[in-house]
Amino acid sequence: MTETVKIMVNGEAREVPARTSLQALIEQLGLGKAACAAEVNRELVRRGEREGRILQDGDSVELVTLVGGG
């Protein structure tokens, strides 16, 4: 059985295989090509650093984009 870690993504609980990178998560969610920004535990993780950011148990991920606003 594969080991998993429990994380939060945009406020929802998810389980991902251990050693999943932030980049892999973003791709799994179909956002690989989207113009989105990512935060782990309230800290911005730039595009170039996503591959090296391995998700840990309890990590809280935010994936955001730009929407209409005033």
Binding site: L31, L44, G70
Partner: protein
């Protein structure tokens, strides 16, 4: 032709602005022709939004930073609908109630715009709100976030209340532009306290001039501001350099003209266009109102008087004049 404004720069805002050539608007180091900034929220569809943005003549448009929808809705993305080469995208921190959250959101917005190579990447429309019902700004949080973001290299365009003291404090904290609210966001009440907006303008622009000049020059400048004659165009330029935008509360085109006539450098609005019965027509109106207000300000209005002053000569009248 009489030249209004008098500062150098290219082009006016198209055909409606013949005498306005040279009256360009410098914001955070960049020069714009349009003094109207519009939002992209609350439109019934993207087609209307695109048409309204074009009709407004705006070169800067605001957007919000929100969570990606992870449920696959196949919704259209705003970013596919905006010509990123045409508009400077100004991300806001709407929905933030603490300086910490506003700083996070600003960084996320910058990251996206850097990926897109948009010119608004280092800009942020800072909103630190105090309360959900009024959406009025939290002055302390706004000040803290301004300091933090300026340190991090942002050009901060700060939404504030119309309080003249807070406005100056935020400028001193390094904001590139201070944006007093006319009235609460989306309320359509227009400029509720014209006196405060004038005091904000005076405080923000006068302190700017005073820091640049000394001794007699300061005295002269102060008198010049007090008289609001603004005859000397170089002096005028000195006192108007710091950009002040009236942000929020606009309901109709007349509100925009009033803000501009008070001496604001620009107006930022969203709902008044997006929720108008005909948003595209209202966008045209807002564009014209911005130009009309600016021209009226530069042209210099007549003083208000209690009694009438006849426009036709008394001399030669054939009628009986009471009291003569």
């Amino acid at each position: 032709m009489a030249m209004a404004g008098g500062c150098g720069g290219q082009g006016g805002d198209g055909d409606v602005a013949g005498p306005m050539r040279g009256d360009s608007f410098v914001l955070a180091g960049r020069t714009f022709r349009s003094r109207l900034i519009v939002g992209t929220g609350k439109y019934r569809d993207y087609g209307v939004m695109r048409e309204a943005l074009a009709a407004s003549g705006a070169e800067v448009v605001t957007v919000a930073v929100r969570r990606e929808r992870l449920v696959n809705e196949k919704g259209e993305s705003l970013l596919d609908q905006l010509d990123l080469g045409r508009y400077t995208i100004l991300p806001n921190t709407a929905g933030c109630f603490s300086a910490e959250d506003a700083v996070r959101v600003a960084r996320l917005g910058r990251d996206i715009l850097e990926q897109l190579g948009n010119s608004g990447a280092s800009w942020v429309k800072l909103e630190v709100l105090g309360d959900r019902k009024t959406l009025l700004p939290d002055p302390v949080g706004t000040l803290e976030a301004t300091r933090e973001l300026v340190k991090d290299g942002f050009q901060v365009l700060a939404y504030t209340s119309d309080d003249p003291i807070s406005a100056v404090r935020i400028k001193e904290a390094g904001a590139a532009c201070v944006m007093p609210a006319g009235s609460p966001i989306g309320s359509g009440q227009g400029v509720l306290n014209r006196n405060n907006v004038v005091l904000c303008l005076e405080g923000l622009k006068a302190s700017d001039a005073v820091t640049k000049r000394r001794g007699d020059e300061v005295k002269m400048l102060t008198e010049e501001i007090a008289g609001s004659d603004c005859v000397n165009s170089s002096l005028r330029h000195a006192v108007t350099a710091y950009p002040v935008i009236v942000d929020a509360g606009v309901g109709a085109a007349s509100d925009v003209s009033i803000a501009m006539e008070l001496g604001a450098d620009g107006v930022l609005l969203n709902t008044a266009i997006a929720h108008a019965k005909d948003p595209v027509l209202m966008a045209h109106a807002m564009r014209h109102a911005t130009i009309a207000g600016r021209q009226s300000y530069l042209a210099g209005r007549i003083p208000k008087k209690l009694y009438a002053t006849a426009s036709s000569p008394w001399e030669g009248t054939i009628s009986y004049i009471p009291g003569e």
